[in-house]
């Protein structure tokens, strides 16, 4: 660590730069949090970073009370969609990435390039074809219609492959095989552990990606009670044209959902650190 008694000039410069960056990234977030305490009228009428007449309690009460507690359901749905699909996506990516890094097999590079090419297709336009395919099998409008497409993370496969190649020494696998461990056991006991920093990253990215996904639920779902929070908020936002009271709901809801996401990230951060140390066990 750095010298604790006094800050060297270099440390001051680094910290100043980091702080400036933090202000840039956090200021708009602060705006949302402040806006969450305002009435619709104050939202447009008062200075953005100050709330002269805070009514957070009233806003929260209305938020969670609106339409029989719909907002609470949306939050739960989002956690379910994002959590479950990110977990499965991480597992699938880990398996595919690990196998592609550690076992040479015919067609490996072809498959890998196919995965990378998959990233290039604009997702917004894929939503409608996916809807039409899903309605053939009667999946539209269900929980599964949002969950299933979200378990695929081409980027996750890429990251897992890089990580497996870089961090898992072949010698380690050799040693495990000599000890009589099976391939599956090696994967779950050794590979997953060594790859864990990358896996936490994949999980985090996919979690947020699914949490923020708007188009897929938009085309798939029609029952409000199945909506994730982004779609629900978008819907409320579109109703502000007829009833401005929805501004309060939308902004307060946005703040709450952002806050929950921060808490989730912060808690994952712990695993992340644990993952990093697990990764360094290899030393």
């Amino acid at each position: 660590m750095v010298d604790r008694r006094r800050l060297s000039p270099a440390t001051v410069v680094v910290l100043a730069l980091l702080t400036a960056a933090a202000v840039y990234f956090l200021l708009p977030v602060a705006w949302v949090l402040i806006a969450a305490t305002k009435s619709s009228a104050d939202l447009f009428g008062t200075f953005g970073l100050w709330s002269p007449d805070p009514q957070l309690g009233a806003n929260l009460g209305r938020l969670f009370g609106a339409e029989d507690g719909l907002f609470g359901r949306w939050i739960l749905n989002s956690f379910l969609y994002a959590g479950v699909s990110a977990l499965i996506a991480t597992l699938l990516s880990a398996g595919a990435g690990y196998a592609m890094a550690k076992y040479p097999f015919r067609g490996r590079e072809l498959l890998f390039n196919l995965v990378l090419a998959g990233v290039l297709v604009p997702a917004t336009v894929l939503a409608l074809p996916t809807y039409l395919i899903f309605s053939e099998v009667g999946l539209t409008g269900t929980f599964w219609s949002v969950l299933l497409p979200s378990i695929v993370s081409p980027f996750g496969v890429y990251l897992a492959r890089i990580q497996a190649h870089a961090a898992i020494p072949d010698a380690l696998l050799e040693a495990a095989r000599l000890d009589g461990a099976g391939e599956y056991r090696i994967f779950f006991r050794i590979a997953v552990r060594v790859m864990s920093p990358a896996l936490v990253t994949i999980f985090l990215f996919q979690f947020i990606g699914v949490w923020n996904n708007y188009f897929l639920p938009l085309v798939m779902l029609s029952d409000q009670r199945l909506y994730p929070v982004t779609l629900g908020l978008a819907q409320w936002n579109s109703q502000t044209f007829r009833d401005p009271a929805f501004f309060e709901l939308t902004v307060t809801g946005a703040a709450v959902s952002a806050l929950l996401l921060v808490l989730t990230m912060a808690s994952l951060q712990r695993f992340w650190r644990a993952g990093l140390t697990a990764g360094s066990v290899k030393e």
Binding site: S40, L110, L132, Q235, R242
Partner: protein
Amino acid sequence: MGSRIRTAAGALAAAAALGLAAACGGGGGEEPAKSAAAASGDPANPVELTFWSWVPNIQKAVDAFNAKHPGIKVKLETITPGPDGGYAKMLAGVKAGNAPDVAQVGYDSLPSFLVNGALEDITQYAEKDAAKFVDWQWQTGVFGGKVYSIPQASGPMAFYYRKDLFDKWGIEAPKTWDDFAAAAKTIREKDDSAYISTFAANQAPWMIALAQQAGQQWFSTEGDAWKVTIDNPDTRRMAGFWQKMLDDKLVKTEADMSNGWYKDLQTGDIAGWIGGSWGDAIIRGNAPKTSGKWAVAPMPQWPGAAKFASASWGGGSASAVLKGTDHPAEATAFAVWLTSDPESVNILLSAGYGWPSIKDTSRIPNLQQDDTVFPFYGGQNIWDVFKEADAAVGLDWRWPPVSDALYSTLTDNAKAAVEGDGTLADAFAKTQTAMVEQLKAKGLNVVATGG
């Protein structure tokens, strides 16, 4: 990789073709043996209908319907507004064979639904109810003599203005567009930061309503061809008027219903708005501190007009019965009840769905006395103004089957004009050309004549 994709594509194409065939076949499968009399359903075995809408709090009206009609059970699903994806979803649903029975569709979008083959012919169930509804609103759902939808509500336009400020500046609500220009000039002279209104180039339905009020319509049919007359003398006169307002800097150019505009409503920097009847909630909700200071006047008139003329913002909304429903009779019965029963209309009115489509509004309590609305406008019964406006909407206005393209092309061109790239008149002329191309691209017959 190539061959694999080809195989997969082939398989999918086959699957898709089968699916489409099934979807098309499914719609006509059931014979419409039920007569209109059976539309009340059997309480022991109620008919289930799905209804898609984006009107806030419309659930209350649906509940009221279900309570009174034990033989029909309507399930409401609140969807994203049509232009934000709701329509795409309905059309995809029709294509896939799982669309709702009844859906909210804007008057402006009914023709494109029809061209996409997404509407059910409900003439035999609906004809008898035609007399309940305002003529021009009813006609929006009639094509080639057949009925496809039941009107819900419109957005007749009037001029909202800050009466207190107008009094202070010594001006009256403008009766003609010349008055409007003069008032705008006075306001600029008396107050540095205030404007009479904004020219909302972002708002195609608004600009279209201005053209609609000016006289000659934009779309009509001639034989089996569409006739496009956007670039006509009346529209050019309207464009010229607003171009002069822009050139003389007498109006703001910010987007309406945007953050900046909301703030300007509060401060009085925007002192007026030519808006739809549902706009009252927007002003009340966003500028509550200006309560009592507003008033509503009829839309300014063009000099020499034969009779009082108004327009409707984006037309309005209908309850359309979508293709593929198994219960067209019940669906129609629901759609008619929803927007003609006084109890339901009163609920919808307070939900902000717009101006009722029924002729007889004398039994709607909220239109006679509304203690949340009238005090905000200094005690004025603003609904009288809108009732008169709705009655003065032209009967012969037709929406084209390409309204979305019309909206985006018109806003794009008008935005360019506001940025100084050409004039507003050019913007309408360019829009005319683009619309003719759009219709032709769909395979429709077009006779193009600029007026």
